[in-house]
Structures are given as C-alpha cells and as structure tokens.
Amino acid sequence: MEGSKTKRSFLPFFVLSCALGLVLFLRAPALEGKTVDFPQMSGWKQDGKTQVFSPRTLYEYINGAADLYLAYEFQNLHVAEYKGEKKAGVTVEIYRHKDPTQAFGIYSQERLANARFLDIGSQGYHEPNVLNFLTGPYYVKINGFNTGEDDEKVLRPFAEKVEEILGEKTSLPPILSSFPGEGKKKNSEKFISKNFLGYSFFHSGYTADYEVSGKKFKIFVIEGKDQQDCRAMMEKYLKQTGNEGQKPSEGTYRLKDSYHGEVALFWKGKSIWGIVDLKDPDLRSKYLKEIEGRGKGGER
C-alpha cells in the first residue's frame, strides 16, 4: 500500500517534470523575439538604437562578406554601439545562425588559431581591439575603438554580460573529438557547411590541419544522413576521381584527386573520413584507424 501510494503521488510530479523539460528543450533561443535588450554597462552608454539585419539586408552591414554568413544559415544580426569616455567606443554584434553547428562553422572560418583563447561561451578569443566568442547558435563579435592597449579588461565585461543574456553555455560540436590529437594544429578545426572540398555532392564536413615531422596534411570527417547518402557521395567522388562505374562498398579507398592530390578515405555506415595529402602509408593507416576508434563508423 505504502509503495503504490508513493507511486501515485510521484506520477503528477514526474509528468510535470517531463513537461517542464520539454518546454525548456523547445524554448526558443533568446533572440527569436522581436527585440534584444543589450546590457547596460557601467561607464558606457548605448549610442543610437539597436540595428537589426536579416538575411536580405546583411549586405548593407558587411557587404561581400555576407555571402559566407548566408552559407552558414544566418538568421539575423543585432548590433549595438556603446560610447564611453575619451572617444572610446565598443560595438557588439550578435549573429544568430540556424543552430550551434552552423554558428561554429562561421566562427571557425574566422577564428585565428594563434589568438589568445578565453573561457567564455563555448569558446572565445581576444586579440587587440577584438573579442569574439561562440555560444549556442550565436556568434558574438565585440570590437573596441580607442579602448587602450590592454582592452581585454574593457571588452571582457561586455562579453560576460552578453553571454548572460544569450543563455546557457554550450560545448563545441562533439564530432570534433573524432580528430586524433597527435600532430593536430590547435584550433584549426573547421566546419564547412556545403560544397566540402569544393564538391557540391559532398554536402558538409569537418576538417582539421595536421603537421607531423614537417609534413602538412588535412584530416576530414563527413557525416551523411544515412548509409545510402554516403553511398551516393562515394559514387560521385569515385566518378570525379576517374573511377566511374566502380560500385562503392564500405571500406578503405586511396584515390588520386586532380585538385587535392592523394586522398585516403574510409567509408563506414553514415560516416566518411579521410586524409588529404599524406603519402606515408603507415601513418595514413594509423590515423584512419584512430578516427574509427574515436567513435566514427559504428553509426548505420
């Protein structure tokens, strides 16, 4: 009796918890609303109204650079300008993309590998007059003008406040852990949203730069929708590399790509991973196996 009473009283709480969890999961990101309340900063005053740009108007703000943002499913941009003392100024730009992967993509295109990285958002970095960071579907760019030599002290509080209004901290795409650590250039990982390797049939993919014993090469991972999707990609790539008519099957390939040089790749399930421009067969084999061991290949 006692047990069933506990079960009955637990049930409404459980249902409520699930409903609340679902609501939180489906909760619209902070900037899907009509306005953004940019933070008030002590010693600074917002200069003018917040500017808002959509995919159709982004050109007006960043001109030719807009093309690449649109390729990463750009949704909207909110911009606020702050004025401080002695003609100091800070501009805060919040770019919202369709999802965290797309936001990581554009962030990774612009990330400078040798910048000073910060623990803010999923990742952030500072260089003179600039503090950029990524959090969830947002790519935030903060620029300082006349903010002095040590302007990290000025820009960082802006970043922290903006991070607060954008919500919970998220992590970088989990697939990045598939890349072997040995020889990898730190912070060289990129997500390419379409036309991976310059081929429209490859959809999207992740890539990272490597250097081992003075030899530079790239490792990539492509995630297909399913096995059939990968089969279609492989068929087209085989045709592209002069192997027309060859029926693709899961396993290892070594191909001569007229644009990229030697490409070794492995297809398993809904994943294709490979190495561009690495001639050492032992090293190639080692890396391909390590990627599989790190979680790629089992997903069918």
Binding site: Q51, R56, Y61, N63, G198
Partner: protein, 401 residues
C-alpha cells in the same frame, strides 16, 4: 561528360592552353583605353584595366566564398590569374590563406586586389574623426603582412556609398602614400549601393585608378550605373564589376531563377567593364565561369532567361535612394519596400514584421498627405504599398511567429 563531349578535367586542361603571362602594358601602350580593347589569346579573353595597364582575364576570382586553397590553385592554373580578396573576408583569414598559397609563386604569375574600410556611420556613410590616415595605413600593412607580399596590384577603399566618404582625405592620403612607397600599384574604390555617385566622385578625385561597383541586370538603376561606368572608363579608370549574378539582390549560382553564365555575360557586354568578379565556391562553378571566359557572347536563350529573371524581380527594391528626399515625412522607403517584398513576395510575415518593428515608424503612415510626391524609378505606387504593409504592425507577433 559535358554536352560538347568534353569532361571536366579535359576542359580545365584545354582552358589552360595558350595562357598569356600576367603583364602590365608598357607606358606607351597605356592611356585612355578604346572600346573593344579586347584580346583573345588562346581561348581566354583579356581586357586592359584602364590606365593601370593591367591586362586581365575578363573574369577575376572573388575568393570571398571559399577557404579552399585547391579551388584557388585550380583557378590560377586555368588562366584566372587575378584574385580579389578583402581584409574583412573571414576576418583576415582569407588573406592569410592566399598568402600561404601564393608563397613561392613568381610574383609576375598572378595579380591580386584587396580592400579594407574604417568604421563609419552606418546611416550616413560618413567617417567619424577617429577614422585616421594612420588607421588606414595600418590596414594596408596588415593586408601585405597577411598576404606575405611586398605589394598588391590594387588596394580598394572598401564599401563606400556617399561622395563625401569617397573623398575622405585621411584615407586618400594613406592610399597615395602607400602607392608612392610601392606598397600598392593602383588605388581602387568599391561601392555596393548609390554606385553612380561614388563612381563619379572617384573620377573627380583624380586619385582613384579603379572603380569596383555592383552592376547587374536586375538593378533598376543599371542604366545610371552604366553611364557612370562609361564616364569612368573615358577618364581612363579601370572598371571591375561585382555582384553580376545579383548577389546583393538575392542572386546566386544556386538560385534557380538566375541563369548564372548569362548574368556574367550580361555585364561583359558592356565594353567599359574590364573584368568581373565571380565568387565561385565549387569546381563546377569554376567550370561554368571558365566557359564564360572563353565565350562571353549572350545566346538568344540566355537573353530570354535574363529578361524573365528581370521581370520576376518586380518586387525588389534596389535601394537607389532616389525616393529618400522626396517623402515629406522622411520615411525609410527602401526599407518599407523591402518589408513589402518579404510580405507579398516571400510570404514571410515574421521577416516583414521584424523589419517594420526595427524601423520605429510613426503612427498613421501615408494617411494624411493627400498627394504623394514620391516618384519611384520603378514606377511603384509607394504610398499604396506602404499603407498595405504597415498594417502588419497591428498583428500580435505571437499570431505569426
């Protein structure tokens, strides 16, 4: 295999045949270019970029949409030896990618243009006093460092849309000094809107050697741009066209409404355009552009495709800005026309409402003016369109989100 029975690799191989080197014309070959100063060598068509003397293929690779060095290498090896980048593309990593790729290549085997801007007032387009000569000079040095080059062939003053900004002395001084110091060979200016005013200012300045305007078949003010370009070319300036597929008005290689090769050819029909920037991102698109490089004549079907696409753009406001001074209430008419397009063209209520809210419009628009003095170049009834679209403000956002 292509329709003509030539595979991609064969095509790329054949395009590379008969390439000329990257050359500047000698002093006595320079001067005011004549129309039709076009040469076909091998299979590639070249034109001379005005008084700069640069002999360029009629298509320049715009590197802005790619971080793929293999694509740039393929363009270079197929005769598309002039590259266009900017310090703002991928926050400078586009320039450094090119720097890495160009390392070790003979400097006379390629040409390169890059560009930069200083923060300006986004509403007026004017520069604040903090925009200094030193700041722009630093931009030039940063570009050279990223590219790993001693000089660039063209350095553009980027993204200008008002005359005063085009003639802003601190930036002109920085460019002239850099040219004297041998850091840049030619001075250029880019403009994505209000192009005729900027092109004319560039001619009047006697400083700029090159203009780089948006120019495409979908621009309602294309005739005005064409006239300004003609004046620039007559004055000896080099003319490079961008956004020729209509990138600033919704066009792209993937837009099914746009015949991309036809759009590229459209700009090249103007003999005053010396080269156009194509921002391809795949090898397929490169192949498309290489075909145009060999044959830029518009076919009958391509002309028809352009005509249809231009008609479909009846809802696009190109933002020529002619209406802005005409409205007695100083309404942001181009923005309102864009909201109208979102609503009636794309049926995107959220986008339209977002835009309306962002404009902070007064209540009761266009209801009490009597006759509307605004004369739109598209001959649109602007007042009627405004009255229609602003009704969306009354709809609670949660109904349409």
């Amino acid at each position: 295999m292509s329709k003509r029975g030539m595979g991609r690799r064969d095509f790329l191989k054949s395009s590379a045949a008969g390439l000329g080197g990257f050359v500047y014309l000698s002093a006595n070959e320079k001067g005011s270019p004549e129309k039709g100063q076009e040469k076909k060598e091998g299979k590639i068509t070249y034109r001379t970029l005005g008084k700069t003397g640069l002999r360029l293929p009629v298509i320049t690779m715009g590197v802005m949409n790619t971080s793929n060095p293999a694509l740039v290498r393929a363009a270079l090896s197929n005769g598309m030896y002039f590259l266009d980048t900017a310090q703002t593309y991928q926050r400078g990593t586009n320039e450094s990618m090119l720097g890495e790729l160009l390392k070790g290549r003979p400097r006379d085997s390629f040409g390169i243009a890059t560009k930069a801007r200083l923060p300006n007032n986004q509403t007026t387009g004017l520069y604040p006093e903090e925009a200094t000569e030193e700041a722009f000079a630093k931009k030039i040095d940063t570009s050279l460092k990223s590219l790993g080059l001693d000089y660039v062939d063209i350095y553009h003053h980027h993204s200008v849309w008002v005359r005063e900004a085009a003639l802003y002395e601190p930036i002109l001084n920085a460019l002239v000094k850099a040219k004297k110091a041998g850091k840049i060979r030619s001075i250029g200016i880019t403009t994505h809107r209000n192009e005729p005013e900027v092109i004319n200012a560039a001619v009047d300045s006697k400083v700029y050697d090159v203009v780089l305007p948006a120019y495409n078949f979908r621009q309602k003010h294309a005739e005005e741009v064409k006239k300004a370009i003609a004046r620039a070319a007559e004055a000896g300036l080099g003319v490079i066209a961008m956004k020729t597929i209509g990138g600033n008005v919704g066009g792209s290689y993937h837009n099914p409404q746009i015949d991309a090769p036809a759009a590229l050819k459209w700009a090249l029909q103007d003999p005053n355009v010396h080269t156009i920037i194509a921002g391809f991102a795949t090898f397929d698109q490169l192949e498309t552009d290489l075909k145009v490089l060999r044959d830029s004549l518009l076919s009958k079907s391509e002309k028809e495709n352009l005509r249809r696409a231009a008609l479909q753009s009846g809802l696009y406001c190109e933002g020529c800005g002619k209406c802005l001074g005409q409205c007695v209430r100083q309404l942001p008419i181009p923005d309102l026309m864009r909201a109208y397009m979102y609503l009636y063209g794309y049926r995107n209520l959220v986008e339209a409402q977002d835009l309306l809210f962002s404009l902070s419009l007064p209540a009761g628009l266009c209801g009490d003016c009597g006759t509307c003095p605004v004369k739109c170049l598209n001959r649109w009834n602007v007042s009627e369109r405004i009255q229609n679209v602003v009704r969306l403000r009354e709809v609670p956002p949660e109904f349409i989100a």
